[in-house]
Point group: C2
């Protein structure tokens, strides 16, 4: 095959970025090569060769109602028909796979991809990411109209932030594969006799086909780490998107296939497996012997099913958790309220990192605005949410749309869980009147130990209530809050924990609890950083050490078992 | 607690060794800080402060028939009574655990051990290894009289080589935990506004109690990687030895506990779980919720049971495989025969790395001694084994004793598997007349495709026949040999593959097969390096990518998931 993109071009274009990424994951300071502002993109702007806003919109409009046909082997029909949470039809059709044809076709390119070595694989992955980045304005619409995210978030989280997470995975994969040299000379002294001499080679080899089971809320952000970690370590990747959020990953697959072909590799190293309605394709795929790695984000039930049944594969899961904020005291009451109000509102609480339980002492808290009773704190927080979401246009840009009927049902059922201190209301989108948009609901709850201790506690806040429903839990003391936090993380998992305190003793207790229960902690966030956001190259997403996830994005453990090293030794 | 060994002492004594080990795992050239010659040890020799040969013997003799009581919490009785494969009684008694007392006691020291950080943990581990190294002559007798290894091997493999593997694991664990800095400042530009600033800490935290399920043949060599990888990453380690090989690991536990106490840590971070006869303690322990990591070496059946049932834990297994040697051609016929004869004889084939199937073309092979027919190759190999083992004293020092009745039964059953071209004979040990010592048996077998192709092949060489039984398999071509090699590795796993060839094409085919089936390859070994031996810091033991093992000793994947990183972030 002749390569339209040469190895030399890839190196000169992307090697500096790879080196910066390698430095970033070691330093964990702020870094990103992907501007997060939509205006940074466009052919005449600071990123020439990229789609401008209007071009992205036009490209998305042109895609609607079409069939994405890239000639994928083993296509036995077409499926699709996504409806945007904003009420418009996306209507793109995707290839449905005949696995007995597709899986062998995906394996055919493995030897050449393995022989390319870690550096070339990393650079090809960076070229894929660069082409995705250039189309960020298209991806933003694809993410918005499948997940329901508002455009600003769909652009940032679905575009540059997802690309950051993909690049981070490539950097980890490259580093892990190059910790062992390709060759070594070994010479063992034998006293007066000649030394024993061997020449050794060490080759990273892939495990097999990697399956990405995508999620409905952050298909690219949660999908790219596994996709790029597996591809960069030599494995073909089969992408099985959530049926409500196919388009962003289908466009990703298309870009990856184009790039692989241009670089002289088999495009079938990356393929799409879109499913028919109610087909349960992931369940069938995950236990195929050809599938040796699975990356999954979604419900705890299916995550645990995968961990139990896909025994032939390395399984990386991000499941559900119950995220807690301990509210003990603060020297910036206003900042705390505004920060929490934003965290609860962002994407209508449809983030795996959104706080659910706010643990507030029954006797109230000390603040720079004086002592505030539990009722006052709850009322002030409700008012802060109202203030953030007071204007419908601004509210819609923060809340996004509710994706799927189950979240709407949960909002409607919330009054049955306790006294509502902030009621949810419907918001009308200025451009999409068909969108279902709801503000968050906050429910009061009793955090006395009797409700959550013991073998069968019945407090409603001990279960995950995914969506914009949170609990203001009245606890008897800060120590009780920490115990409830521990219990919640241990039993239900957590992707985030937050705490507000001016007490070094409470801070110590919370920090110790998070270290022992293995949950990441954000302390006293009152400015423009929110507990639900993590930044690639610096923050780990999840820990892999509590029930919410068995892996962290992204660390050595996330990449190290995706490949193996085969040693060959010969007399020197 | 006051520490008898200070952090400063640990640093000055062991930091240079740790740094050398870190350099060694990156360079993978020859390196070891543990001399493998028995005469290197002794108070007046090059290793002052270490036991000399006579002292090791005396220490072992003094231990026989005693009770090892280090006051382990939750001791509800005593068990033991090992009988040496050399026919003498070892008769040491060990504490039997009440798990409901012992496991909580092991967890008590975790916070302080976590807070000590990766460097201190690594240095304490190096001090444990140094104290073990000083007692290598004692460990040699303990290994010899539990495993049946001959003294030279018991000394080297059970002493310095095992210590090397432990140190290697400590180095990997230290490197993995320190890839992320302890602290980072994060500052994200916000255009004309002030940047967002956070201060972040990253703490490696342990998973929980780590269980080591020891094996009967190489209790220290196979046990130290998991033990030290887990301890160095902050986890307490509970050691459950094989009931026939308790003493080497009990002495290890005793040394670790002494060292931890002297360094100011809780000795209960390492404990022993010796089992009652037929208790099945590993099965009960492995599924306890407190156990979060399991390291295991042994049968495929129990390894797969652990992988299936110990779902709450990270499970690292080394199981059985069927190791193959492809004999295609050689330019050193004598060297090949001698090398293979040694490999088959060493420790009576009781190594997981011993070759089992020698694939030899039916039409014979090209050699520097001219063309040799299949029958000639087989006869010459049998003669080479006879020559190596001709003298009983020398034979005993190479073969060691047969451990357990099942291997003897297998030797006796070998004639039922095919025509015997080399019969096994009994050897009398000069010092231990009660020892059961047997020379290897080689059986002819037909390697025509019909015997190993298809869904239910019935060739006897497709099953593992652990012990000194090997098959001279007549194949129709080198290409067939490679196909049979692939099939064997894929279905049964392999810890080693060897090949002899002067053909670059056959070499390429074998190498490609090993890369694709994920098995380590040794090519044309004719000198003093044997396919069954791997050297720490340079060779990986196993790949973790075929059914013989799900992990390699030792790489990043072996340590990366033994701990997790907890991030705490605060406004800067």
């Amino acid at each position: 095959m002749t390569a339209a993109v040469s190895a030399a071009q890839l190196t000169s274009t992307h090697r500096p970025t790879l080196d910066q990424a390698l430095a970033a994951i070691r330093a964990r300071a702020y870094w990103s090569p992907h501007p997060e502002h939509p205006r940074a993109y466009g052919p005449d702007g600071p990123r020439p060769g990229t789609l401008a806003a209007a071009e992205g919109q036009a490209a998305f409009d042109a895609l609607r109602g079409t069939r994405l046909d890239w000639g994928q082997p083993g296509t036995d029909g077409w499926t699709g028909g996504e409806i945007s949470p904003y009420g418009i039809e996306v209507g793109v059709e995707y290839p449905h796979p005949d696995l007995d044809v597709l899986l062998p076709a995906m394996r055919a390119g493995m030897p050449a991809w393995r022989q390319a070595g870690p550096a070339t694989r990393a650079l090809v992955c960076l070229e894929i990411l660069a082409r995705i980045s250039a189309r960020s304005h298209l991806f933003a619409h694809a993410v918005m109209h499948t997940t329901g995210q508002a455009f600003p978030m769909a652009f940032q989280a679905g575009g540059p932030h997802a690309q950051d997470r993909g690049l981070e995975a490539v950097a980890y994969a490259f580093e892990e594969q190059t910790r062992t040299p390709q060759e070594a000379e070994w010479s063992k002294p034998q006293g007066r006799r000649d030394p024993l001499r061997l020449r050794k080679t060490f080759t990273p080899v892939p495990r097999g086909i990697s399956l990405l089971v995508g999620c409905s809320t952050f298909p690219t952000w949660n999908g790219y780490p596994g996709l790029f970690a597996s591809l960069a370590t030599g494995n073909p990747v089969l992408v099985k998107p959530h049926p409500r959020a196919v388009l962003p990953l289908a466009l990703t697959v298309r870009t990856a296939r184009e790039t692989l072909g241009d670089a002289g590799f088999d495009p079938n190293l990356v393929a799409l497996a879109a499913e028919l309605p109610d087909e349960g394709l992931a369940r069938r795929l995950a236990v195929r012997p050809e599938i040796r790695i699975v990356d999954y984000t979604g419900s705890t039930a299916f995550g645990e099913w995968l961990e139990t049944h896909a025994r032939q594969a390395q399984v990386f899961t991000e499941k559900a958790g119950v995220n807690t904020i301990v509210v003990d005291s603060t020297d910036d009451y206003r900042g705390m309220l505004d920060n929490l109000a934003f965290s609860l509102s962002l994407y209508s609480g449809q983030m795996c990192t959104t706080p659910q339980n706010l643990l507030i002492p029954r006797d109230g808290i000390r603040t720079d605005a004086g002592h505030r009773s539990y009722d006052e704190v709850v009322a002030d927080l409700a008012a802060a949410v109202d203030a953030v979401l007071g204007d419908d246009t601004r509210a819609a840009a923060l809340l996004g749309a509710v994706a799927g009927p189950r979240i709407r049902e949960r909002i409607e059922a919330a009054p049955g869980l306790g006294e509502v201190v902030l009621a949810s209301r419907a918001v009308t989108h200025p451009a999409f009147p068909g969108a279902t948009i709801r503000t968050p609901v906050i429910v009061k709850a009793d955090g006395a130990r009797k409700f959550w201790e013991g073998p069968e506690p019945d407090a409603p806040y001990l279960s995950e209530c995914f969506g914009p429903v949170s609990f203001a839990v009245a606890v008897d003391s800060a120590a009780d809050a920490v115990d409830l936090l521990r219990r919640t993380v241990r039993a239900k998992g957590a992707l985030t924990v937050g705490a507000y305190t001016t007490s070094s003793e409470v801070e110590r207790l919370v920090e110790e609890a998070c270290l022992e229960e293995c949950a990441p902690l954000s302390l006293n966030l009152t400015g423009g950083v929110y507990v639900n956001q993590t930044a690639a190259f610096s923050d780990f997403h999840g820990t892999g050490g509590n029930p919410a996830a068995n892996a962290a994005l992204c660390d050595g453990a996330f990449v190290a078992s995706r490949f193996r090293v085969v040693e060959v030794r010969r007399p020197a």
